[in-house]
Structures are given as C-alpha cells and as structure tokens.
Amino acid sequence: MTAHLPILQVVLPLMAAPLCLLIRNGPATRYLAIGVAWTSLWIACQLLGQVVAEGPISYMLGGWVAPFGIEYRIDAVNAYLLVIVTMIASVVLPFGVDRIPLTVPAGKEYLYNAAFLLCICGLLGISITGDIFNVFVFLEISSLASYTLISLGKGRRALRAAFSYLVMGTVGGTFFLIGVGLLYQATGTLNMADLAERLPASFGARSVVVSFAFLTVGIGIKLAVFPLHQWLPNAYSHAPARVSAFLAATATKVSFYLLLRVFFGIFGVTYVFGTLRAQNLLIPLSLLAMFVGSVAAINQTNIKRLLAYSSIAQIGYMTLGLSMASVDGLTGGIVHLFNHALMKGGLFLVVACVGYRLGSDRVEDWSGVGRRMPWTMAAFVVGGLSLIGVPGTVGFVSKWYLVLGAINRGWTLVAPLILLSSLLAVVYVWRIIEIAWFRQAPAGAKREEAPLSMLVPTWVLIGATLYFGFHTDLTVGVARQAAQALLGGTP
C-alpha cells in the first residue's frame, strides 16, 4: 500500500473529478472534495516523512523502468511542495462549507468541485513527476481547470480575465513544449534525472540555449515574473474568493518549483549561472518586481487587486533567492514559497470573509470593518504584518534568509533594497489597517462576525504564519535540505 502512495497522490483527485460529474449533487461533491483533499494531505505527509527519513523515492509507472517509462521522483523539494498544495487545498475547500450555494451559481456546484479537484490534480502532478513531458500535461490540466474556475467569478469581467489568462497561459505552456522538444532533440530523453546526465555533452549546441530560453519564458508566464505578470491581477481579482485564495497560494508556487527544477535539476547550477549568467537578467527583474509590484499595490482601490500586486512583489523575492544560487538564498526562496502560500492564502480568505458580509472588495467600503468583524480583521493584521516581515511572523524568517544570502554573496546593494521594499509593504498594509480600524463604520452597521465555517480556516492559515514564525526548525530545516539537494551538495 505505502509503495503506491506516489501514484495515489495524483490519481485520487483525478478520479474524484469525474465522480463529481456522475454524482451531480452539490453538497455530496463538496464533502467528497474535502475528503479527497484531506486524504491527499495525509499521503503528502507520509511521503515527506519517508523522504526525510530514507531519501528520495522513485516510483515507476506501470513497472516500466526509467528513463523509458514515466518516473515519479520525490525528493525533499517536491515532497515539501506536495504538503503545501494539499494543505492549502484542505483548508480552502472547507472554507464556508455551509455557505457555498451563495457563492457558486445554483446547480453548478458539482462542476465547480470537479474543476477544483482537477486543478489540485494538475498541481500535484507537476510537483511529483520526474518526466518533463508529463510536466507539460499536468501544467495544462491545472491551467485549464484554473481558467474554468476563474471564469466562474461574479460579473462579466471574470470572463475577460479568464480569457486573457487562457491566451497568456497557452502561449506559456506551448513555449514550455517547444523547450521540451529541443531538449529531447539534443538528448533523446525526457526523464529529468537522465536529462541532467546527458545534457552536459550538448551544452555547446545552440538549440540547448534556445531551449533554456523557451522553458524559462514559458514558466515565467505561469509564474508571473515581472514583465510577464499582466494576467495575474485581473485573474485573482475577478475569480471567486476561494479560488483566488487557492490559486494565489499554490499555482505560482508550483511554477516557482518548476523553475527551480529546470534551473538546478536539469541544466545545473554551473551552466545556468556560470555559462549563461542568467542572474544578470533575473536579479534586475526580481528587484523591479519587488518595487513595481509594491508601488502598484499601494495605488489599488480594490483589495483583491492590491493583494494580487503584492503577490507579484513576493514572487520577486522568490526569484531573487533563486538567482543567488547559494544555500542561504535558495533556502530563503523555498521558505518564502511556503510562507507566502500561508499568508497570501490567509489574507485572501479574510477578503472572502469580509466580502461575504459586506458584498464589496473596494477599499473605501472597508471603513470601520475592524469593529464590525474584529476577529476577521485581526487575522488581516497578522497576515499583513507577516507580509511586511515583522519578527515573530513567517515573513520575517524568509526575508532574514534572503538578506543573509545577499550579504554572504557580497551584494551590499541588494540587501538594503530588500528592506526598502518591505517598507513599501508597510504602506499598503497600513492603509488597509487604518481604514478598517480607525475609520468610523457607516451608520447603522452592526457587529457581525463572519460565520465560523469561514473564520476557522482563515485562522488556521493565519495561525500557521505565527506558529512557523517561531518554530522555524521544521520549515527552514526542510528548505535547507531541499536547497542542498538542488545545489548538488555544494555549500
């Protein structure tokens, strides 16, 4: 049984999705989805425990030996990611479980749950597989599901957001496919571990450089790296609230993992950062993302859009950690992946809670909401502090490692810039806190907390940002192990 956990991780949500279509009953599929998410979380925890204790797991699909068959390969990096994705799914799916009919078109809930399960399946598949063509397939499964989910948002703008994401995402996915093709042409293999072995022989070929460029740009579109981020604010701000929370917390994180895998797992750190000098492009783009994202966030009038632009800035931190290509920098990037999933997921859930009571995502409508929904807004304060990077929250831990990485690299200019961009986060977080807590609520507003089924999941994520802010051994330990594995054991 435990030998087949890697495949169950993907097949469980994949099989549950068509089951939803057969059941055609909203509440039944709702609880089915929650059950699948929780089981997946259990499987992911088992896999992580096994990896930490015994080293990487290799699973051959159908018993076909790699590199001929498809291999599922789980090491510290993706075991960590599997836990993050399933954990966010397990928290977001039960969110408002007794109120869902109000937020999803009537009679369509089973379709919504099916799309949600497919999206989870795709994201888990990208994380778990060791075959690069398989990555493309899962990438498209998760993308198609997320276009569908986004289009279910309220109002017609959601449709346009979903459409432009579909165009951008398909171009990105096809770029990835071209890159895979060129790699296959150069090496004759699709298995990532095998690619890493065979590729150095063809590093001189121009097609390998072209393939690297296509893969990077393709993943960059999915990751919303700075100049390729146009789709993200619209998609996140018009999607249904739970979908924004889930996608903001997982989709970009999985793309970031894919970038890590391609850079360090396939091309190797010496080729990417030694021969091609990718950091010369990545560092300026990351820094630009940090500042452009934060400044754009300050000027937003819609709170979901504000959080979406802040996500672009946070992705900048992650790619900055990646471009340091040192254990500290990578640890910072990978820990930030986990931490940002917690805090952005939590913050989007807060927005969903307030949106449920107020029916508005506009910043000015939030005046005095702190007194009306104190528990909800307290969660926002904690999440916001974490976004800034105040000590005691997870945001501090990841920024600490990023600054440490920058200093160890001797980048004396980058370290202050990280701190400076955190100050910009203070501006946009404080603006919301000021409006929510220190302005008068409109007359006649009564104290009305969000329902418990919404408040509890929100606080689970926000509480986790506090817990992992103090107990850093678990997250940082695994992230460090992952960083060392990616760098091939070199310090």
Binding site: F136, V137, L159, F163, V167, T170, G181, Y184
Partner: protein
C-alpha cells in the same frame, strides 16, 4: 541559401509559429485570437513530428526477422508522434474552453471585439 534549404521544415515551423503568435497579439476579435493560438500550437506539433523522422526511415512497424534485409531497416522514432497525440488533445481542450468563454463573453457583452469590451469595462 543552403542554410534555408537544409532546414526547410524548421523555417516552415517558425513561419507558422510567427503567423500564429502575430494573430494572437494583433487581432481584436477574440475568435481570431483563438485561431491564432491554434496555428501557433500546430507549428509546434509539426516541429515535433519532423523531429522523429530519420532520413530513409520506415514507419516504426517491426519487420519480421526472417524477411530479407530486415537487419538493415531503419525505423523512424515514434515517440514524438505519440507525444503530439497528447499535445493535440490539450490543444483541442484549450480551443474548446476558449470558444466557450467567447460564447459567454458574447452573451454578457454583446460583442467579441476586445477594444469594444475594454471600452465597455472602462465606462461602466
């Protein structure tokens, strides 16, 4: 000139790819955007299929060993073709979803021209 002739199939792929990408970027009509996306994907499919062809290669159907000349037979690589079956399915799914979204947009906005939609969103 030999550069062009030797890599004929690649030039064809690149030209198709650029036609597709240009259509996606330049057209305001959402249906045309989807068609551009389709052309773009087809160019990649052609690129993969051409990759599997080996000069003088036969289709990869095993020639029985006792047949004369069986030892010299060169087979084309079937793997890229198989990969493209998957990519075609993905392309069809994307097109279907894209067109479904266009239908919904047409219902909600009454137009499929992107510039008009942007204008309607702005004045709203």
């Amino acid at each position: 000139m030999s550069q062009v002739m030797d890599h004929g199939i690649y030039w064809l792929c690149i030209v198709l790819m650029m036609i597709g990408l240009y259509t996606v970027i330049s057209r305001d009509n959402l249906v045309k955007k989807i068609m551009g996306l389709n052309i773009f994907q087809v160019s990649v499919i052609m690129f993969y299929v051409s990759m599997g062809k080996i000069s003088g290669g036969t289709p990869p159907i095993l020639v029985p060993k006792d047949q004369p000349g069986a030892a010299e037979v060169v087979y084309s690589n079937p793997l890229p073709h198989v990969l493209m079956l998957t990519a075609i399915v993905v392309g069809v799914a994307t097109t279907a979803l894209g067109l479904a979204l266009v239908v919904r947009i047409q219902e909600m906005y009454g137009t499929v021209e992107e510039d008009e939609i942007i204008e309607m969103d702005r004045t709203e």
